[in-house]
Symmetry: D2
Subunit: 304 residues, 4 copies
């Protein structure tokens, strides 16, 4: 299989879709993104890298950051993490308060906003220097020390983030937040604001395809079992309320963000990232979804 | 009808129930209330007053304050008020976020917490000096200048009020709060903290039985139509998710608070207030509910 | 107060609204109704009758029949009736399954469809000859022996009544239906199909304004207390999910049907019925609602 | 990897769990099942078979039948099938009416009851002889002509199946059932009643691990893409509201039934079935779940 040829072919076929959909516009810093961008990167466990399009421009990773924070919290807490969040698809919008209220402040999974806020609270209260430690973890995974928070985006999110503020207060009312609600919100909006490019995204996810360890590094961030389980979570819960469709069409564990990025993995083989800022109605990159579907169709490999 | 005899008789019959139920204990300042208190006061539009039990001890009026703030906001905004809240029973718990989310941040009515927060926001943004003006309104209605906020209770509520904080943030995310969320919460918890005694409560509600005007005063706080409509709202929505039962058993427009007070009116005739701190499962004064049911049964007058 | 002049005046003022709205069209037999009809009748406890418009044409009373069946079941079962249905406003659409499922097959009140099906089941299993006995009760109240079921409408409702069939099956799964589901459905659709005219409707409701007894008859169908309580239920739950608004605008206990009829009472004084087939968005007669609001405004009497 | 040794080892380790949990008891025919049964069978795409425990006793496959009916309907309708059901996890109980009502009679996926009823309706209205054709399909997949409906179980289910009756009526009210509601229910309860043994179950699922074709047969029942997609659906939606946990712990596409059976596949490699009638709280075989978790742990192969 010639991955290089495959992704070039996909890039060509996908062109009519690039820019279709709608860039996230709930904060100015995201609304100004050029909808016509597209980048795709594949990194194999053998160390090969394949790219097409703009894989060097950094964009806000948004909810993809929830994978890194979950990995860190999972490594720290182990199975105790499931005392504070579940592992089931929510069947509701990612920012819904309904289910959270019905289920007494116990979020369905760590990828919906409520669950991610709980994970953020764990890191806030467990890490020595949460802001530095989260950033350090992502920089190490991606292999680039210049990756950073975008303070303007974080600030803008906070000023408009009344729904997340509602959620963290509801969690607190159910004693599922230990820290101060403002501090949890700030850390949350900050890690969502982190900017990375498509290639960095693909590189940083490789440990999940490789039993918890980056092939080029010695340290295992997660055990083999934990890595598999985090992948299972991404498959069932990683793409908002489109997770079923993503499994159906793409067939890979993956995580998307409203910045237009999607990162996915094929166990034991590779990680793949796409970026195109215009989103479909479910909040996932429209061209990105199609590119990943073509990727598993053309290569004939999915987890199924 | 000898009201004096009726309420004495009720007091006697009700004795076995006084102290039954459970005092609100979500904040220490309320939890310390003596559950064995009972007071009842009736004030007629003719100027007569009848009392039994402890009608002089002040207690936290809590949600009963929502009647005063609604009356003030209704007088200021008129029918525009219904652009920001509905007039339908909620069919859900008074502090539920579910319905508020389903209905896009438009509270069902001004007596559930979400609606009362919106009303508080109206007063916060319209009154010159909201804290002073609300207090002045209640003092004038009750005829006593020493009525005041209980700062300790207000502070304690704020420190535990994560669910209300969730609600006001959710309202803000739907653009149904104009003011600053912290300021709305503070004003809300303050007006809920106001302490009055049972007689003051009965006196202060008389304008609702008298077409919007206190019989002893010249100023009309509400038009006749507005007063009738506020009464309709109390009947359908005034006693949390027990409003149907209250209408069924008592048959009067009324409003309760978790401090154990209930105030109700019989149009053109009288206002009646009861106080007993131990609450039933729906959060209404257990002995108070029974006392009011006996009152309409014994006098044979209800709105039905 | 000259009631005759008042209702003539209302008829005149209401004319621009007659025909506005939408006739119920879910079954052909209802869809063919002339939307431009309007009738209004007032009957006092003193025996006076006032009419305007078409008060002689019969129409399908639909949900108004739930008042008669509830009265019969209440008389038979007494307070035991509340073991099988509640007394609280539903806060949901009248035909919603959601709440019924959440609350384990216990309908919120006897006026939503689920509750009315339970009441129908009570009559089916308690009355000797349910079809004859229900009809006899209504004929006696209205004083006309020609009132009858409309078999065509009943049949048509059954053929399209999959949602009600869903409801009765769900109730049965929670053991809140004793009879056979098909038989309950048939009796339900039949009593909803009954045709009456506006004057008959007003006459038949008078017992509710008169402590449970028709002024011209000796028999009390309900005790004074039961009559008051049924009125309370109509006020809080009688007009679908517009009950709060009906209380707010009209201020009377009343019950509406999708045939365009509404019947209401003023305790100790009178009953009033209106009919105009075109419905507002909530399923209540558009012109009828307005006529009743004008009636309480012009006469200055409501329960508040 | 010595599969034979692995499953014997699992059988040994699992023994303390066999009989733990609760046999489905909503109908007598299921309640009488011996809770202490356990069987496990693995069939590889290479034609090898491995068994342990009681793999010869037949039991009611219940919801596992939904995989066969979906496969048949998918083959007939192709992508049109998704006009009548979705592909997303429901996030609600498998027999919930709430979501179905909110989403206008469009079931979330074909494995919850509402979706399976729609699939049954497709087969009812498309197949020449639905009862014979469904049975023939399963017999061919399992390689045994004696597999049959259990008429007693089907009859018993129908007599108690008010909730499913509610569901099919609600679907019909939304025009998502073409056939007669009684006929749909009968066919549904019949295919759920089919009895198979553990080895037959494993054999019959092999086509899903083998791109839609049984290795020993020439005919492809599904295309490669369809088989993969059906597997994706099983992973995200196959085990009621425990699908996330199943993916997390077991990591395989699988489908369970309240008869205590679970069948799963590893793409390109094998199918595996377990049976143990005592269920956990989510309605899945307690020992069966654990056996499958041990299977992927010990062999080190899952889809992740």
């Amino acid at each position: 299989m010639n991955i290089n040829a495959v992704i070039k072919e996909i890039h060509e076929e996908i062109k009519p879709l690039i820019g279709k959909g709608k860039v996230a516009d709930y904060i100015p810093a995201l609304a100004n993104t050029d909808p016509n961008k597209f980048g795709m990167a594949v990194v194999t466990t053998d160390g090969e890298e394949f790219i097409t399009g703009d894989v060097k421009s950094r964009f806000s990773i948004q909810s993809i950051s929830k994978v890194y924070t979950l990995a860190q919290a999972f490594a720290i807490e182990g199975e105790n993490i499931w005392r504070r969040a579940g592992r089931e698809p929510s069947g509701n919008a990612f920012n819904s308060l309904v289910q959270l209220e019905h289920e007494q402040g116990f979020p369905r999974n760590p990828f919906i906003n409520a669950g991610a806020l709980v994970i953020t609270d764990i890191l806030l209260t467990r890490l020595n220097d949460p802001y530095a430690d989260i950033l350090q973890f992502i920089r190490t995974l991606a292999g680039n020390r210049t990756i950073n928070y975008d303070k303007e985006i974080a600030q803008s999110e906070r000023e408009n983030g009344y729904r997340n503020a509602a959620m963290v207060n509801l969690l607190k009312s159910h004693n599922n937040i230990e820290g101060n609600v403002e501090e949890v919100l700030n850390l949350y909006f900050n890690h969502c604001s982190i900017k990375m490019n498509t290639l960095e995204l693909a590189r940083s996810f490789l440990f999940l395809a490789n039993q918890g360890r980056q092939p080029s590094q010695t340290k295992a961030y997660l055990t083999k079992s934990q890595a598999k389980r985090l992948n299972a979570l991404m498959l069932t819960c990683g793409t908002y309320d489109e997770a079923g469709d993503f499994a159906f069409r793409v067939g890979l564990p993956g995580k998307s963000g409203v910045g237009g990025g999607i990162a996915a993995i094929i166990p034991e083989k590779l990680s793949v990232a796409v970026w195109s800022p215009a989103l479909n109605k479910k909040g996932n990159s429209l061209a990105g979804m199609q590119a990943l579907e073509l990727f598993t169709t053309k290569t004939g490999i999915s987890v199924f």
